[in-house]
């Protein structure tokens, strides 16, 4: 009997080959989306960390920061404050190892004849116990025992020395600290969260330094936000802290988590920010970071793409069911005859399930081939590095097979169930039969279009947000801003000297600085209050340490009050003896509104307070608002804060920002290069345009935008193919009716309009149903960003116009053909 089912299925596919092709392509496309998403997330999961010997026992600590018991300021990033490791070791001495690692970013490394930039990280000694790095030269056991030793990767050694035999050789770091190479290690596992290929925000390094050396850098003001590794600053959550559970099982994960939960009550003073600690497995550390960034919008990086894929699979499944029923109703006489000849309901159901299964099998082959073909394009578009070999994961294909089986069951079961109930006498008499309620095909088409419309609106909203970000960052009408990505304080360059030399050239318009380069995500969060009353409402803002002339250099307008200036000695000092009166701050428009002022002028000359709301008696630290700036600090994602407060401090003179004349960019760059070479000949300069840094930070969001747009396009294609298939069948079934209408005087145009109207109704309703969901998801996405667009009506209107236009195009050809039929032919055949 199986042979009969298969034979019948193949012949049926050939007879209704257009519909079979539509179903096949729809299913395959949906599954390709699923496989691509799986591979994309697999790369995000950085499964390279599995290669470490102790990976299964290694966890990374996370820390959430709360300003009050009900207000979470920072979600659970896998980075914690510096004292966490020390206290955890004390509380759980049975842990096999606890080690911190701090990313220092690129630092200048020089030998006698060469100087390059190497990504550096500082680590505790236990780091080498946790991670089995592969030594090529030297002894790892003692490699970081001295504060002035270092471990270098083989490729970094080649860049710096031109050889891998470098044990015992000195390197000058940041123009002032000398270290000696103690060991050379092989490359880290591909896809690991650490190493030279690690992505931004992870532990990228070409050279590993002892944690003690960090104090040397830190004493002059560390790069970024790193505080002294020995400090008790729980809020400085920038240390990756690894924990290795003992192999004898004496410390389990639940025990570790319990100890972490109790850590704050045991060790954190009540006047410090509220912390909540947790742990994630090593292999999920990058995912945990990305999830934390997106957590303010409640968008999960793992769940959301798969939800979108599920939507597309549902569309494909509904397509399949709808079209199969449509075909089957034209096979009604055959079905009736089979029942007359003795086919039972199970026989007929098996027939349709076999057809669905066969189609699914062909789809599986197409999916494999299709994904292999798509991988290079995906890599190029999103800057990823999938390998076709990654398609051979058994768990992936197990999932795909399961999905196919489900789709076959669901997609084949509905038609099978409905048609097996058809009474033979009805089908033999009429030749066709209505299978199931009349509204079901319309609803199925409507659901498909609702899903497609939802995805289209979301894609348009994301695109609008991305355009806004690009407009903010990449304004070709403005003078470009060049960023020198060196911490000049660490390499001993005087900001004033640099500034003065740069400004000698007329191509240099303005020089300022900030503590970090532009377009980083994250930063220093600060809780603010309008009054000193600890019970007053608070809001969280981003605190930005900048230098004089920051606003004119970056092009952010001051809209009320005044700018920072040297005459007013606006520089903020952490040393109270040096600080006269309340420090001067500039706030942006968003913070002005959050503090309750309806226009910026009202905020000027007022005092506001930096608060520690976890301390109920804290009156706050008063600051004086001297001006209000336009929104637009160059940051992508807070998280959890979309306003800004600016302070001028010496830390702001760390990373120079230089505004140059757009009329002669090469001349300006040449002058900058020349000045640098004069001031710091031994340290190569890392300069970038601000928009280049934007593009690097923006990659992930561009990728997400691309993913959603791609999924929308796929959903659309599937829905349209389904509509075409339905149009073919419905119009052929209505030929008799059309013949009669034309006999009675209807014109071809009138018939076309009638058919188009009928097909448009489910599309229109689908849009209305989809809009609220799309609006909700769009808002969640927008809330992630420091700068976000307003949700306008245009994406919704555009989605409606596109879906209706595409539906008309898809159906139009069929409608025209049906309307052109000669009545005599149709009525005579009847």
């Amino acid at each position: 009997m199986l042979k009969h089912y298969i034979t019948q299925a193949l012949r049926s596919f050939w007879r209704f080959r257009v519909t079979a092709l539509v179903n096949l392509l729809g299913l395959s496309l949906a599954l390709v989306c699923f496989v691509a998403t799986y591979l994309f997330l697999d790369s995000v999961l950085q499964t390279g960390d599995r290669a470490f010997k102790n990976a299964s026992r290694t966890y990374v600590l996370t820390q959430e920061l709360w300003t009050t018991p009900t207000n979470r300021m920072i979600p659970a990033f896998p980075q914690v404050g510096p004292p966490t490791a020390k206290y955890l070791r004390a509380d759980l001495p049975a842990l096999e190892a606890v080690a911190r690692a701090a990313s220092l970013g690129p630092i200048a490394a020089a030998t006698d004849d060469r100087s390059v930039y190497l990504d550096a990280a500082a680590v505790d000694p236990d780091f080498l116990k946790i991670f089995d790095l592969k030594p090529l030269e030297g002894d790892l056991r003692e490699a970081l025992s001295s504060a002035h030793s270092a471990i270098i990767t083989a490729s970094a050694a080649m860049r710096l020395f031109g050889t891998k035999q470098v044990v015992g050789r000195p390197v000058l770091l940041q123009n002032r600290s000398e270290v000696t190479i103690a060991a050379v290690i092989d490359a880290l596992p591909a896809g690991s969260h650490m190493g030279e290929a690690a992505t931004q925000g992870m532990l990228r390094f070409g050279i590993l330094l002892p944690m003690d050396l960090l104090k040397t850098f830190n004493s002059s003001g560390a790069f970024g936000f790193l505080s002294d590794p020995d400090s008790n600053n729980w809020g400085n959550d920038v240390y990756l802290t690894y924990v290795l559970l003992p192999s004898n099982g004496s410390v389990t994960l639940p025990l570790l988590q319990e100890t972490l939960r109790a850590l704050p009550s045991r060790h954190i003073a009540k006047d410090q920010i509220i912390s909540v600690f947790g742990a994630v497995p090593l292999v999920r550390v990058k995912l945990a970071t990305l999830e934390a960034f997106f957590s303010s919008s409640h968008i999960s990086l793992t769940t959301t793409p798969f939800l979108l894929d599920t939507l597309i699979l549902i569309i494909a499944c509904l397509n399949y069911a709808n079209l199969t029923v449509a075909i089957a109703t034209t096979r009604a006489r055959e079905i009736g005859m089979r029942k007359v000849l003795g086919a039972s309901q199970p026989h007929l159901m098996r027939q349709y399930l076999v057809e669905a299964g066969l189609l699914g099998g062909v789809a599986l082959i197409l999916v494999f081939v299709g994904t292999a073909l798509v991988v290079p394009a995906v890599n190029r578009t999103f800057g990823l590095e999938f390998h076709v070999a990654s398609l051979l994961q058994p768990q992936l294909w197990g999932l795909v097979l399961l999905l196919l089986a489900l789709i076959s069951l669901v997609g084949g079961a509905y038609p099978a169930l409905v048609l097996s109930r058809v009474r033979p006498v009805e089908s033999l008499r009429a030749g066709t039969v209505r299978a199931g309620p009349r509204f079901v095909p319309t609803i199925l088409v409507g659901v498909q279009f609702a899903a497609a419309s939802f995805l289209l609106v979301v894609a348009l909203l994301i695109s609008a947000q991305n355009h806004l970000l690009q407009r903010l960052a990449l304004n070709p009408g403005r003078d470009p801003v060049v960023v020198i990505n060196n911490d000049i304080r660490q390499i001993g360059v005087s900001f004033d000297s640099l500034r003065n030399e740069l400004l000698r050239d007329p191509h240099i318009k303005s020089v300022s600085g900030a503590i970090t380069p532009p377009w980083q995500s994250g930063g220093s969060h600060q809780t603010m209050r309008r009054s000193s009353d600890p019970r007053a409402a608070t809001m969280v803002t981003m605190m930005n340490f900048v230098f004089y002339d920051f606003f004119q250099t970056t092009g952010i307008k001051i809209v009320a009050g005044r700018n920072f200036d040297r005459q007013h000695a606006d520089e903020f000092s952490w040393d109270p003896s040096k600080q006269r009166g309340a420090p001067s701050v500039i706030i942006d428009r968003a913070l002005t509104a959050q503090l309750g002022w309806s226009n910026p002028e009202q905020a000027v000359d007022h005092t506001i307070f930096m608060a520690s709301p976890w301390d109920p008696n804290d009156p706050g630290h008063a600051v004086h608002v001297i001006g209000v700036a336009e929104n637009g600090y160059p940051r992508l994602v807070g998280p959890n804060a979309d306003s800004n407060l600016y302070l001028v401090t010496s830390l702001g003179a760390s990373v120079p920002y230089i505004r140059i004349a757009r009329e002669d960019i090469p001349a300006a760059l040449a002058h900058i290069d020349a000045v640098w070479k004069t001031l710091v000949p031994k340290v190569p300069m890392r300069r970038s345009f601000s928009d280049e840094l934007f593009n690097i930070s923006y990659e992930d969001y561009a990728a997400m935008s691309g993913v959603v747009t791609g999924l929308s396009a796929c959903a659309f294609v599937i829905a349209i193919m389904g509509l075409i298939g339905m149009a073919i069948h419905i119009t052929s079934r209505r030929l008799h009716e059309i013949g009669i209408r034309k006999t009675l005087g209807a014109t071809a145009r009138g018939v076309v309009l009638m058919l188009l109207r009928d097909f448009s109704k489910p599309v229109l309703i689908a849009n209305l149903v989809a809009w609220p969901f799309a609006f909700f998801l769009g808002r969640l996405y927008y809330n992630m960003f420091t700068h976000h667009a307003d949700i306008s009506i245009w994406p919704f209107v555009l989605s409606l116009a596109i879906t209706v236009a595409v539906a008309w195009l898809a159906v139009g050809a069929q409608a025209l053909r049906a309307a052109s039929v000669k009545p005599a032919l149709v009525l005579h055949a009847e």
Partner: protein
């Protein structure tokens, strides 16, 4: 073999109720060849459908081999149908995607007959209807007469107790019609019970009994002089 008592069949739409059969009682003995005649809309095809268990009566009794099947569910009827009945339709109702061989084989497949038996039996009936060379052809490649012969072969392949023919010659020319009637004669002579609906008096005259229907009722029943040996034995 077949007893119908007070069979009624009504068709209901939203606004209208039509009695297709009204109070029909009929008995058919094993081995009989019965023809049903009447004007269009008199209920003869409805009668055939009810006897063939592909439609169910609104009321009344239908005894098939002593069992009252009038209220049986479809699942039980399917089983009874495939073991005992064979159908021949005016429009042949062959399955276009299947070859001649496969069309004839289909009832045996639904009975889960072993492969060897299916092969032998299909070959046998193909020879009976003289279509063995066309076994691999599709219905679209055959003439009307050939298609109906395939339908006849399909109807008899399971060796049914009763063959139901609904205007089997209606779409055929005279020569082909004669051929099909000849086959029915042979089958009846071999012992098959046949109930045939026809518009043709000439073809009806080949039966042993002619049942005339008007407006959903049996008007007359006329016995024709010719008896099949099997019918005679049954009467005895």
């Amino acid at each position: 073999m077949i007893t119908l008592r007070n069979i009624r069949k009504d068709y209901r739409t939203d606004n209208l109720e039509t009695a297709a059969l009204a109070d029909v009682s009929l008995q058919i003995d094993a081995g009989e060849f019965v023809a049903v005649m009447g004007p269009s809309g008199c209920g003869k095809s409805t009668l055939l459908n009810i006897v063939g268990m592909i439609d169910s009566p609104t009321s009344g009794e239908y005894l098939f081999c002593g069992q009252d099947v009038a209220r049986w569910p479809e699942s039980r009827l399917v089983d009874l149908r495939k073991r005992n009945l064979g159908f021949i339709f005016q429009s042949f109702n062959l399955i276009d995607d299947l070859t001649v061989y496969e069309n004839i084989e289909l009832p045996l497949l639904y009975q889960n007959a072993p492969r060897a038996h299916r092969k032998a039996r299909v070959r046998e009936v193909l020879e009976l209807v003289d279509l063995l060379p066309r076994a691999r052809h599709k219905p679209a490649q055959l003439s009307g007469g050939q298609q109906q012969r395939v339908a006849v072969a399909r109807a008899v392949v399971t060796d049914p107790k009763l063959i139901l023919a609904d205007e089997p010659t209606g779409n055929l020319d005279t020569r082909n019609g004669e051929e099909v009637m000849g086959m029915l004669d042979i089958l009846n002579q071999q012992g098959a019970t046949i109930l045939m609906v026809t518009h043709s008096h000439e073809h009806a005259a080949r039966a042993q009994r002619i049942v005339s229907m008007v407006d959903g009722r049996i008007a007359t029943q006329t016995h024709v002089t010719r008896q099949s040996p099997a019918a005679e034995a049954a009467r005895a």
